[in-house]
Every structure is written in structure tokens, then in C-alpha cells.
């Protein structure tokens, strides 16, 4: 009998303490006591925190200027105000010939946006020098991350973009994880998270629309879903009631990656919300994240009640490098891409001839490469040209 009583006593003693300890553990690093609220210079605190955020990404030369001063023509750093919410732009990228061009023009756009933090995540095993150098010279506030998508999840580069294996998922998730690990859910850290692909086109107005997002905001996106633009349907109360799309409008969130932004605090407060990696149907990737964060009624329509197009889902053509040949015609020391240097070592590839054939016809008559001598001019056999093309890898 005393044994039972002892056991009971022990349990009753231990129980509240275990609960307390788990609570402590969950909120590890955060003060249990609230930060004194009279300190409305939570703004100065925000500045400190964001400065700490920037320290890993800023080089020694840069600093957050109060006034934009010009040292030389291009030394002007983007503007920063202590009071504005920070825009965290997450961009996954991967090596291909147009990568440097895409990132250059995206950086040129982002440089105009104040209070911007660019999280660039490479799909690679290591950070490439091309991207590292580009980021250093860009004068942007950035964080450079990388994670390699395992080959079984990678999209076949030659196939038409298969929506079943969404590209960039692991990279976006890594960025979300970085945000959660490096910005604790402290008070006053206002910000918005946006997923920007490196080949889309963004107007400057868009960034100012998304800056004032309470939970999640949405707007139209051009050139997606085979339409001029897709947009949310807004009812008379100014709330999102559906989706103006042709492709599966029954999706929980029938919206493109470029069509929504989420408040940073919401992301931080739901640490289990990530993009689903496997088993995601085409077009459902955005929903896989958003359904863990918001409901339809929480969405805030922007861009003049979703009547203006401020972002275009442009796609850049793959450049035809037919004249490079197996050994590579151009000087490998000149930095163009990492990709082409690596590809040169591959002996075969499976380019589809259809896209290359019409251009190839034109090139055929004037090709200076010795292999052209094997063929009679102006009469390329389709089969032969396919064989030839298969040796010219991109």
C-alpha cells in the first residue's frame, strides 16, 4: 500500500515539472517574459535584428546607409528604412547557360526595392563561384544557400516541363527553414515572404503591394495556365471567392508561385508548413504550402482588387549552342556558365531534334564546323541531322 501511495505521489510531483520543462524546451531561446511594451522603439530592436541578419550576408565594404551616397556611379546600395517591413525574396536557381543573365536582370530589378532581403538557393552540391561573385557584386542584401535535388526528383531537362516533379521545391523549403532558424518569432520583426523564380518579370509596384500583407495576399499573374493571366475571383465583399483559371480551378489555391506572398510571422508561427515534396499533383504545389497556413477567407486581394497585372510568368528560350561542338568552340576561361563547362565532358545527351531542326537547317548551309563537310549542302537527311544534333549537347 505505501508503495502505491509513493508511486502516486511521485507521479503527481513529476507531472507538472515535465510539462514545464517541455514548455521551456519548445520556447527555447525565447524569453518567457514579454518584452516591455512601452519600448515602441521595437523599431530599433527590429533594426538591430535585421542588422544581425545582414551581417552574414553583407561584405565588409557594405553598410546600411541612412542617406544614399555615391562613391562611384554604381556603388549606391539599395535604400533601407528602419520602419518598413522587410521583403524576403526566395529564389531557387540552377546552372544553365542563361543563369547568369537571368540573375543579372533580376538583381537589377531588386536593387530598386527598399528593405529587401534576397535568399538565393542554388540547386547544387556546392555554392558555385559564378553565383557567389554575382551576389557579392550586386550590392543587394542576400543570403546564399544551396541544396542539391536528388536525381530521382530532378526534372528531365530535355522533356517538356513535367509538372509532376515541381522544380525548386527543396530549395524553397531550405530557405523557409533558414528563415525559421535565423529569425525567431520575436515581436516586432515584420516581414513578408515571396517566392520569385529567376526567369519571371516583376514590376516595382508589385513589391510595394505585397509589403503590407497581414497574413497572405494574392494578385493576378500573366502567362500562366495557358491564359493571358490567371487571377483570383473577388466577390462583392472584396474577399477571394474562387479562382479565374481554366486549369483545375478546384484546387484549394489555384494560383502560381508568383501570385502570392505570406507574412513572415505566419511562416514562423507554423514551423511545420513546407512545400510537399513527393506525391504532389501538377499545379498543387502552391496549395501544399498554403493550405497549412491560411484559409481562403484569410487571403488579401492586392493589385487594385486583382484587376491589374504586376507580374509576368515569362520563360526564357534555351539558347542553341549548336556551334560549340564537342570540344567547345569558345574559350572555357571566359565565364559564361558552370553548366557548359561540365557538360562538355559528357559524351552523349538526348536532345529532342524537333526544336533544333528548323534552326539547324539554316545553320547547316553555313556551318563552319568540319562535321558539316560530311553532309551534302542543302539536303540534310532528317535522320542524320538528328544524329548530328545528338552530338551537339547544350
Amino acid at each position: 500500500m505505501p508503495k502505491r501511495k509513493d508511486v502516486l505521489a511521485l507521479i503527481l510531483i513529476v507531472l507538472p515539472w515535465t510539462l514545464l520543462i517541455t514548455l521551456w524546451h519548445q520556447r527555447a531561446g525565447n524569453p518567457l517574459l514579454p518584452i516591455p511594451r512601452d519600448n515602441r522603439t521595437g523599431t530599433s530592436k527590429a533594426h538591430q535584428r535585421s542588422f544581425r541578419l545582414q551581417k552574414p550576408c553583407l561584405s565588409e565594404n557594405k553598410h546600411i546607409p541612412e542617406v544614399t551616397r555615391m562613391k562611384s556611379i554604381h556603388s549606391r546600395s539599395p535604400a533601407w528604412s528602419n520602419a518598413l517591413p522587410t521583403l524576403h525574396i526566395i529564389t531557387p536557381t540552377y546552372s544553365r547557360p542563361v543563369q547568369k543573365a537571368e540573375l543579372t536582370r533580376l538583381a537589377n530589378t531588386l536593387l530598386h526595392v527598399p528593405n529587401l532581403h534576397w535568399l538565393l538557393v542554388e540547386d547544387s552540391a556546392q555554392k558555385t563561384p559564378l553565383v557567389s561573385r554575382l551576389l557579392e557584386n550586386s550590392r543587394l542584401n542576400y543570403t546564399h544557400l544551396n541544396v542539391e535535388t536528388p536525381p530521382n526528383l530532378k526534372v528531365q531537362r530535355t522533356k517538356f516541363r513535367n509538372a509532376r516533379i515541381p522544380r525548386g521545391t527543396m530549395q524553397r523549403n531550405l530557405a523557409l527553414r533558414w528563415l525559421r532558424a535565423n529569425i525567431g518569432p520575436r515581436l516586432g520583426q515584420s516581414g513578408v515572404v515571396y517566392f520569385a523564380d529567376d526567369d519571371n518579370t516583376y514590376s516595382l509596384e508589385l513589391f510595394e503591394e505585397m509589403r503590407w500583407t497581414h497574413k497572405a495576399s494574392v494578385w493576378p499573374v500573366a502567362f500562366v495556365g495557358g491564359l493571358r493571366y490567371e487571377s483570383p475571383k473577388i466577390n462583392s465583399q472584396g474577399k477571394v471567392s474562387g479562382w479565374r483559371t481554366v486549369f483545375d480551378p478546384r484546387r484549394p489555391f489555384a494560383i502560381d508561385m508568383a501570385g502570392f506572398a505570406v507574412n513572415l510571422q505566419l511562416i514562423l508561427s507554423k514551423p511545420q508548413a513546407y512545400f510537399k515534396l513527393k506525391g504532389v499533383k501538377g499545379g498543387y504545389q502552391e496549395s501544399s504550402l498554403l493550405q497549412d497556413l491560411v484559409t481562403l477567407s484569410d487571403l488579401e486581394p492586392k493589385a487594385d482588387n486583382c484587376t491589374k497585372v504586376l507580374v509576368w510568368h515569362t520563360r526564357t528560350e534555351r539558347p542553341l549552342l549548336v556551334n560549340e561542338g564537342k570540344k567547345g568552340f569558345t574559350d572555357g576561361r571566359v565565364e559564361q556558365t558552370e553548366m557548359v563547362r561540365r557538360r562538355r565532358s559528357l559524351s552523349g545527351c538526348n536532345n529532342s531534334p524537333q526544336t533544333l531542326f528548323p534552326i539547324f537547317l539554316n545553320e547547316m548551309s553555313t556551318l563552319q564546323h568540319p562535321i558539316s563537310l560530311q553532309y551534302r549542302k542543302n539536303k540534310p537527311h532528317p535522320l542524320f541531322s538528328h544524329l548530328l544534333l545528338s552530338r551537339y549537347c547544350i
Binding site: 544614399t68 530589378t109 503590407w212 491564359l227 539558347p319
Partner: protein, 330 residues
């Protein structure tokens, strides 16, 4: 008995203390988000911040960048034509140009009249611009289904830009005329990608300067080959026997040269790939070319091309009479 009593009270005390501690911690949970208290004043804050943001943007626009008047001006001639991606292309191009001081953008539309889209866009862009238009005659225009290498594009529009420059050069006097002596003319297509460094390279051009262009001619890049500071030949995989086997984005001409050689124009009937040569051969020989971009070893401009967006579903909707709102400008 005493011991027991003591133990009991100790136990009770212990339990009460831990219970209170738990309750205290739970209260902290509830208090974590104190933003609810600030919800009402937040809207006021937002309008305050929006005002600050506007001030900041004004500051950016009128910053010392535009006041820098002591550098040579760059006149950029961009031919453009109406298609779905036109606004997107011009938008991101303008973002690049906004960083370049003393840039004057000459946009020439391939249209019978200046379109609302481009006019509105240019006036909101914040750039110094000139809006022109010149329609390409039907015989020279690409038809639907023609591959884009069949006929040279943009020749008439570029010539119109040159005509405007020559007109401006003849009507301007004094300080402005002096400024034109050092100015440079560059032909920028609306779908290419330009780095900011490129404009600083081309700014100081005496006659014609050249540099490598990426992703063109079926190669990673095309470039002039430089020996002893002079261009000796061109490294290109496609018809290197042209007088100037260089892409439109790979050279810049001093305005002085353009104004003194009034007959130098682009030949719209030229063979494919000879458009640049048809213009340059009136102006300069290979010896006189000035190599830029670290003696033509760096790629600062890329000949990117944008895919045509797929409109299958839009077309299907149009057939049903349910196409997207044409009032929404894309």
C-alpha cells in the same frame, strides 16, 4: 507521525508551487502575440509607413544619379513591337536602365501609331525617353509561321531612331551641342539582358567600340579577337566572313560619327546576319574598332530570347466568348 505530516505538507507545497508555475507559463503563451492590442493603431502606422516609403522612393528617383551630368550621354535605341510579352520585356529593361546615369531611351514602335500601352509605360518609367514609331512595310515583315531568321527585324525602327538623332543634332545649340559631341549610340533589343557594367564600358567611345556578346550565333558567346589592343578578327561560329560578324548588342557608335555620316543607315533588305555590317561599313574599318570589356574577355551582355507564352486555353475561351478581360493590360 511528525515525519509524515512534514512530508505531506512538503508534498502539497511542492505540488502547489509547480501548479502555479505551470499556470504562469500558460499565461505567457496567451500573451505571446500582443499584436492584437496594436491592431487598430496598426492601420495608422501603415499609412505613416506608406508615406515614408513614398518619400524614400522619391529620394531614390531624384538622387545624385540623375544629377551626374558630367559623364557622356548614352542614347539607347530600342525597336519594339506589340506582342504578349512586350510590356514585361520593356518593364525589366527599364529596371536596368534606371540604374544608368545620363541615359536617354529612344523607343521606336513597329506600329502605325504610338500605342497607349507603351506611352503609359514610358511616362511612368521615370526614364528620359523619346517615343517614336515607324511601321515596317509589309514585304519586309515576318509573316505568321516564318522563322525569325528569315528577314532582318527592326531595321526601319532603328533607322527612325537614327533619323531622330540627326534631326536633334541639327537643331540643338550651345551646351547641348557640346554634350552631343561625346555622346554614344547603342542599339538595345528589348529581350536581351544587359549588365550595368556594360554601359560604363561603352560610355567613352571615340568611334565604334565592341565587346563580346553571350548566347548568340549558336555559341556561348561571340567576341572580337584582340591583339596588341586592336581587333584583328572575330571569333564566331556563324559566317565569320561577314564584314562585321558581330551582333547588334555587341557594339556602340559615337554620336559624332552618326551625325557626320548622314547616309549610314541599316539596310532592311540585307541578307540575314548582314544587318550590322550594312550599317557599320559606312562608319568604320576593323582597325578603328575600340575593344572594351577588358580587351573583349568579359561577357557583359546576353542575347536572351523570351518564349512565346502558350495561349491554348485563352484561345479556347475566346471561342466560347469567355476570354479574359481585354481591359486588363498585360
Amino acid at each position: 507521525m511528525r515525519m509524515r505530516l512534514k512530508l505531506k505538507t512538503v508534498f502539497v507545497l511542492y505540488f502547489m508551487v509547480s501548479l502555479f508555475g505551470l499556470l504562469y507559463a500558460l499565461m505567457q503563451l496567451g500573451q505571446r502575440c500582443d499584436c492584437r492590442d496594436h491592431e487598430q493603431s496598426k492601420d495608422q502606422q501603415i499609412s505613416q509607413l506608406k508615406g515614408e516609403l513614398q518619400k524614400l522612393q522619391e529620394h531614390i528617383k531624384t538622387s545624385e544619379l540623375s544629377k551626374k551630368t558630367d559623364v557622356p550621354r548614352i542614347y539607347v535605341i530600342t525597336p519594339t513591337y506589340a506582342r504578349l510579352v512586350q510590356k514585361a520585356e520593356l518593364t525589366r529593361l527599364s529596371h536596368t536602365f534606371l540604374h544608368v546615369p545620363q541615359l536617354h531611351w529612344i523607343v521606336v514602335e513597329d506600329a502605325p501609331q504610338q500605342t497607349q500601352l507603351v506611352s503609359d509605360f514610358l511616362s511612368a518609367s521615370g526614364l528620359t525617353y523619346t517615343h517614336l514609331n515607324k511601321l515596317t512595310p509589309k514585304e519586309r515583315k515576318l509573316q505568321e509561321g516564318d522563322p525569325n531568321w528569315l528577314k532582318p527585324r527592326g531595321a526601319e525602327q532603328r533607322n527612325e531612331g537614327l533619323r531622330w538623332l540627326r534631326w536633334m543634332g541639327s537643331t540643338v545649340h550651345g551646351k547641348e551641342a557640346a554634350a552631343l559631341e561625346e555622346a554614344v549610340v547603342y542599339f538595345a533589343d528589348d529581350d536581351n539582358t544587359y549588365s550595368l557594367q556594360l554601359f560604363e564600358e561603352m560610355r567613352y567611345t571615340y568611334r565604334v567600340s565592341v565587346w563580346p556578346v553571350g548566347l548568340v550565333g549558336g555559341m556561348k558567346f561571340e567576341r572580337p579577337v584582340v591583339e596588341d589592343g586592336k581587333v584583328v578578327r572575330f571569333h564566331t561560329g556563324w559566317r565569320p566572313n561577314r564584314p562585321f560578324p558581330i551582333d547588334m548588342a555587341g557594339f556602340a557608335v559615337s554620336l559624332r560619327l552618326v551625325l557626320t555620316n548622314k547616309e549610314a543607315l541599316f539596310d532592311g533588305d540585307a541578307q540575314m546576319g548582314f544587318l550590322e555590317s550594312s550599317f557599320l561599313q559606312h562608319l568604320v574599318t576593323m582597325d578603328d574598332l575600340e575593344p572594351k570589356a577588358d580587351l573583349c574577355t568579359k561577357v557583359l551582355v546576353w542575347h536572351t530570347r523570351t518564349e512565346k507564352p502558350k495561349m491554348k486555353r485563352e484561345e479556347a475561351l475566346l471561342k466560347q466568348g469567355m476570354g479574359s478581360d481585354p481591359d486588363v493590360e498585360v
